[in-house]
Symmetry: C2
Subunit: 411 residues, 2 copies
């Protein structure tokens, strides 16, 4: 089923992406495009490549890191020394043949290499030229360095994450990186769609700080309604709660033994169903709990009566019983539980790659199913694995040319 | 600049999207497509419309909520009573003319309406048919209800967010909703790209639980490296920290008066620069702090010496000084600070809409700049605002036809 001819991997067939990105914000973007079938050619430093290959841990010293494998599946890799004039000449020739050029170097670096927008547009007016930055052009911080956590701090994410009585936390989700990469992928695809009809190129730029606003827009609604900055509420909803809405402790009491329970304001049946499940039919119709407003006034009692029920079960059982009764509920699952859950593998949401040097590695795939299945994963490339392939197919270089480039340290 | 003819809003010109989604996961997806120029027609219940219009607070009772305004900009709205046979007949006719059909009703609802994939494909074989679900087809929970927080619990996000000594928290970012919507937008755009060449339709499905894995892939790398489920580390990095890496307290000590400071493993210069900034040049070269490993062993001392410096400044000053010195640093900004920052408005990242009944509202726009500017915001539609427009342009109905439909309660 994963190889069905109509599946995802044919969507962008024939699209060529010249990918000068590293770490995660850029690579997560181009990986999504690779999963949809684009030919993504990663241009890497011959000495070590993308620092993401080694800046994080892998199975053994010297192997590519798990981090690299996760963000570079289904891509090709070529090596080019961008400190040599021939390396720059080659990357320029590749840019002439590309549909998309993308980079996420530190501010100003791509221009210093002579590969800025004006230079590339001159040789390829139809290019879609995409840049991921920490802070936007025109921001007082446009020259500053940024990483995922800096974006989460400056983009508002941290201010609305954590407990009310504690300092802010940085969510484990890498919104600054992957969250930004997904938005850039959308804009690139929009630009590709137009270009397919008109040949028109486009310059795209996203800043990690700016991208964060896209994910906390509910907090701006809260602020508009309350007149105050949105705050933190632990596992609950800040300023729009309607008890029960939060996590309840389950057996055996480990760090993630909780079940999330929510009864929607839009559907009063949820609360009644919940009373039945926890054996408190006696409270159906009781005015102390009948409306969302009334329940808000009795939040502590409600939390205690539900906890009395959840504490007697593990989170999986609690979720099964509550879910089957039509109550929105979800166990707090950890990465090991998700990794080990056979339904993810069966549905293709988790797939195992066979990497030539790192061996088998089970990892999340693109989660959108196209005609019934996510795209099939291919392992991330080894450094320079596709030098012959790409220099041949894109530039017409032969085996001897490539051998010479290797000999001269250009690739 | 925002109206430049080459800007974003032309990317998807001519693309027709029939949008049966509500609340956030679906609407955030179609809004991104509307921002890139697609004609997104929201189909709403004549009695109240998308529950997101009223389930959250607006400026005044009876007005559309701020929440609705945020997730439905640049769309059109038509009303259709899907409980009437003529309403169903009309939505079917619209589906015949659409490029994309998208829905996020509760499990099974769209099929019960007779608008399932097989029915729509029969009348429009080239349709891109997209569904957002809580849990994936084939999951043991595929019939369960889900909301943003349920997805964040079941999709691993909460297990890696919060303090190590406390229960998990739900990040303020609505990853379950908008995070899922962004992935579906990418797949729809990929399918549209192929369809433009081949006319080929496609069935797309994403589950909110599955989509969460895309945002915590670094945690799966951590798990592969440590053999344990990824955990929580407050504002720090779990299992890959290299002090300093976290938030440091600033004056005057409010709930968000912190600055994030990080010195990258990949660049040893960051640490040296930081010592200069905080006036501890005496420690440059000191073996207690020279390597990442050494600093890990002295984390508490390092945190204290940096805090001694940050406590004497406000977060903005700290960020300015550290950033200018080439150290990755970012103030923890809250929603009011972001909302009030003039650079967001100047750069088009925040724009003010003039809504006919809600008045002016300043809100985040699509953060990717196309040829220098984000797309220009148009206010979310009032309920049924485009009945005449769409029923006329898509189906050729005249003024009298529309009047009759209104009279009969179909629209």
């Amino acid at each position: 089923m994963l190889d069905a001819p109509r599946a995802a991997t044919g969507c962008l067939a024939g699209v060529r992406i010249l990918d000068l990105t590293q770490f995660e914000a850029g690579p997560s973007c181009t990986e999504a495009l690779a999963w949809l079938g684009a030919e993504v050619v990663k241009v890497e430093n011959p000495k070590g490549g993308d620092p993401g290959r080694t800046a994080f841990r892998g199975g053994e010293v010297g192997q590519d890191s798990w981090y690299f494998l996760l963000f570079n599946a289904n891509k090709k890799s070529i090596t080019l020394n961008l400190k040599s004039p021939r390396g720059i000449a080659l990357v320029t020739e590749l840019a002439r043949k590309a549909d998309v050029f993308i980079e996420n170097f530190a501010p100003g670096a791509i221009e210093r290499l002579g590969l800025g927008y004006d230079a590339i547009r001159k040789i390829n007016p139809g290019i879609i030229y995409a840049q991921v930055k920490g802070f936007g052009t025109g921001s007082p911080f446009e020259e500053n360095l940024a990483f995922d956590m800096i974006a989460q701090a400056c983009g508002g994410i941290m201010s609305v994450s954590g407990d009310a009585d504690r300092p802010p936390v940085k969510p484990g989700a890498t919104l600054g990186d992957t969250g930004t990469g997904m938005l850039m992928a959308i804009s690139i695809l929009g630009a590709l769609y137009r270009r397919k009809g008109t040949g028109q190129g486009e310059r795209l730029e996203v800043a990690m700080q700016d991208a964060m606003l896209q994910y906390i827009r509910v907090c701006f609604a809260t602020q508009a309604a309350t007149g105050r900055p949105a705050g933190r509420a632990g596992a609950k909803l800040y300023a729009s709660g309607n008890p029960p809405c939060g996590i309840y402790p389950c057996a055996p009491g480990g760090p993630n033994d909780y079940v999330y329970i929510y009864t929607s304001r839009a559907n009063p049946a949820h609360w009644k169903r919940l009373l039945h499940v926890i054996g408190r039919e006696d409270l159906v119709g009781d005015p102390r709990y009948e409306t969302g407003q009334a329940r808000t006034a009795h939040e502590a009692e409600i939390d205690e009566m539900i906890s009395a029920w959840t504490r007697q079960r593990d989170k999986h059982e609690a979720m099964r019983i509550l879910g089957a009764a039509g109550i929105p509920a979800g166990a707090v699952l950890d990465t090991a539980e998700l990794h080990g859950d056979p339904t993810f593998e069966k549905r293709g949401i988790m797939q195992t790659i066979e990497h030539p040097t790192c061996g088998p590695f089970k990892m999340p795939a693109w989660p959108v199913r196209h005609d019934g299945a996510p795209p099939k994963l291919r392992p991330a490339p080894t450094l320079g694995e596709h030098n012959d392939d790409v220099l041949g197919a894109w530039l017409g270089l032969g085996e001897d040319d490539v051998k010479e480039l290797r000999h001269e340290g250009v690739i």
